[in-house]
């Protein structure tokens, strides 16, 4: 039983080593691409946490991703050279000028009615802080309303889905301060001290890779705490947990918020590597795509969902660039999804688990009922 747990941690270690050495084999173009996929891997972790462990199928994870992305993008927009060349000594986003009413002062405070909201974003770290705070605040408010009312299952999915579409509309509509459906482009680079994170350099890749490793580790440890186990109990039977004295709402809200924070963090990293933020982050298709990644990788495995996200994106990239598939690649991805749901309901992670179980069963006197019996600690990762 202990060996199984060791194998699991070995998988995590192998994955981290793999992404750490990947830059040795890639040109800057692929390095940037893979960095984006690793960001999606972080999103996979967020989905696994809320869907696999909390049993909350959030079809609006893009809301948290988008919130994180926009918060940092606002800061990076102000750090962009073009924002400093608009005829003011303080930065002003170029799109605000294009749409300014005649005679409006070229100042962030009052170029339009809501532009003052941008003022604190002149500090990059304010943007970073807001990129975590905003998703968490939304998640807490949403969680307290939804979970206190004991709304569960498909209804939570519908509410989150509606909400992400609503916010997307608002963002597009608030054109004077969000640049509408064009999103925020032409951003400056993220800076830490003297280090500028040009998206095509190796340090930027490592920023993402180390972030992903830390998120993986933290999420895995979190679900192994007592609270993580109780959360799984809540997922299995809310009522039973309630009648054992647990405040179900607070558990659901807490883990929903953690998932939101991870998604917001991923949104910020995505802005760093892709240099834009746009309302497409809050498209329905994107939120559903995340769920597909997690389903393929294995929603009840943190590492599985993460690998699922990366794998599907690598496959999409390859297939979409293969001649003859340029048009049909989405169908290919759809087919993979259907096949996985039909034949691998626990995703690739489930397949890996069964494989390890079978190996363990082959050893004499070890786990005669390997498929049924799993030790409590490894259960958490299934």
């Amino acid at each position: 039983m202990l060996t199984k747990r060791r194998i699991e941690w070995a998988m995590y270690a192998a994955f981290v080593v793999l992404i750490m050495f990947a830059p040795l084999f890639m040109d800057p173009f692929w390095l940037n691409r893979v960095a984006k996929y690793l960001v999606f891997g972080i999103l996979g972790v967020a989905v696994a946490l809320s869907w696999g462990y909390a049993g909350i199928l959030n079809l609006g994870q893009g809301l948290f991703f988008g919130a994180g992305a926009y918060m940092l993008a606002m800061s990076l927009k102000l750090a962009s050279p073009t924002s400093l060349q608009q005829g003011s000594d303080k930065p002003v986003p170029d799109f605000m000028l294009w749409n300014a009413e005649p005679g409006a002062p070229t100042e962030l405070c009052c170029i339009n009615k809501a532009s003052f909201l941008w003022l604190p974003f002149q500090s990059q770290w304010f943007g970073v802080a807001m990129g975590l705070i905003l998703p968490v605040v939304i998640a807490i408010v949403l969680g307290l309303v939804v979970f206190r009312k004991r709304i569960s299952g498909v209804f939570v999915s519908i509410i989150t889905l509606a909400l992400v579409l609503l916010v997307r509309l608002v963002v597009i509509d608030a054109q004077p301060i969000t640049n509408g459906f064009n999103g925020l482009t032409d951003l400056g680079w993220f800076k830490v001290g003297d280090l500028e994170f040009d998206p095509y350099i190796v340090p930027t890749y490592y920023l993402v890779a180390i972030s992903l490793s830390l998120v993986l580790l933290a999420a895995r440890l979190l679900v192994e705490t007592r609270a993580g186990v109780i959360l799984q109990a809540v997922r299995d039977d809310q009522n039973r947990a309630r009648y054992l004295g647990f405040d179900v709402t607070s558990y659901q809200t807490f883990f929903f918020s953690v998932s939101a924070a991870i998604a917001g963090f991923a949104g910020m990293l995505y802005v760093v590597v892709s240099e834009f933020a746009s309302p497409t982050f809050m498209d329905l298709t994107f939120s559903i795509t995340m769920v597909v990644w997690a389903a393929v990788g294995g929603r009840s495995s943190i590492l599985g969902a993460c690998i699922g996200a990366i794998l599907i994106n690598v496959i999409s990239a390859k297939v979409s660039e293969t001649e003859g598939f340029a048009e049909a690649w989405k169908a290919v991805i759809g087919l993979i999804f259907v096949l996985v749901v039909l034949y691998l309901p626990r995703g690739l992670a489930g397949l890996a688990h069964d494989f390890v179980d079978r190996l363990a069963a082959r050893k004499p006197g070890n786990g005669t009922q390997a498929l049924r019996v799993t030790d409590p600690s490894s259960q958490a990762a299934e």
């Binding site: 979190l222 186990v229 109990a233 309630r242 647990f246 179900v248 807490f254 299934e382």
Partner: protein
């Protein structure tokens, strides 16, 4: 005279005009095992729902010792010391049997108090004892979903025992069980006698005879009679309303 563990005073509920429980008053003493009898629709399960907070009452009070727990939220009532087993067995099916019990052993209910690893040595001992008591030691590392119906019922009983509440509410603990399983359940329940105050809703007369001390008979949402097995058997009103003319057999 033993101290009253649970006092129900004039409790009523109204489902759009239908009074499923109507002016029920009863007192259960510390350490007592009380059986609730009654035909379908007599209000037995509804009474349990009212005690455990699942349904809110419209009038009357419920006291746990001296604490008024009327219409509290479920998890608060549970923390105050009332554990409940459901008619349809509910356990955490994707967790192992041991994990199930560990969750129940958790003393602190809050999220932040539980952001730490392991359930502690005390919990492990407690869990081992309970596993022994409910006879699932060999299945400790099995996922609960693979347990048989009877074993699932015992596991849920085990959750309650681990939680160690002052009062245990059991809603048809032998529903769907074989005779042998029913007997084993009665052994478990008898083992709890004295340590906990227990209220059981049950139809199975063989089981009732094995465990019962005092019986309260409900009929159309009201208390019809109260007494020991013999007194209930011979009570003409009870015979008429529930047992028919044949008595408890």
């Amino acid at each position: 005279m033993a101290q009253a563990a649970l006092t129900i005073d004039g409790l009523s509920v109204d489902f759009e005009g239908f009074k499923a429980v109507n002016q029920v008053t009863m007192t259960v003493d510390e350490g007592e095992l009380r059986v609730l009898l009654g035909a379908n629709g007599a209000g037995k399960t509804t009474l349990m729902d009212l005690i455990s907070g699942k349904t809110k009452s419209v009038s009357g009070r419920v006291y746990l010792h001296d604490t008024d727990i009327t219409n509290w939220e479920e998890h608060k009532i549970a923390r105050a010391g009332i554990g409940r087993k459901f008619q349809i067995p509910s356990v955490f099916k994707d967790l192992t049997v041991r994990r199930n019990l560990e969750v129940a052993s958790c003393k602190k209910p809050g999220v932040f108090a539980n952001l730490r690893f392991g359930f502690g040595a005390e919990a492990r001992e407690n869990v081992d004892e309970v596993l022994e008591l409910i006879g699932l030691t060999e299945h400790a590392n099995q996922v609960a979903a693979y347990l048989s119906h009877g074993q699932t019922q015992w596991l849920e009983l085990g959750l309650l025992i681990t939680q160690n509440p002052k009062i245990i509410l059991l809603d048809e603990p032998t529903a769907g069980m074989t005779q042998a399983e029913t007997h084993k359940t009665s052994l478990i329940v008898n083992n709890l006698k004295g340590r906990h105050t227990i209220i059981v809703v049950e139809h199975d007369m063989a089981f009732v005879r094995e465990i019962a001390e005092r019986i309260t008979v409900l009929h159309l949402g009201q208390v019809l009679a109260e007494g020991n097995v013999e007194a209930i058997e011979n009570n003409p009103k009870v015979r008429e309303a529930y047992l028919g003319s044949k008595g408890i057999s």
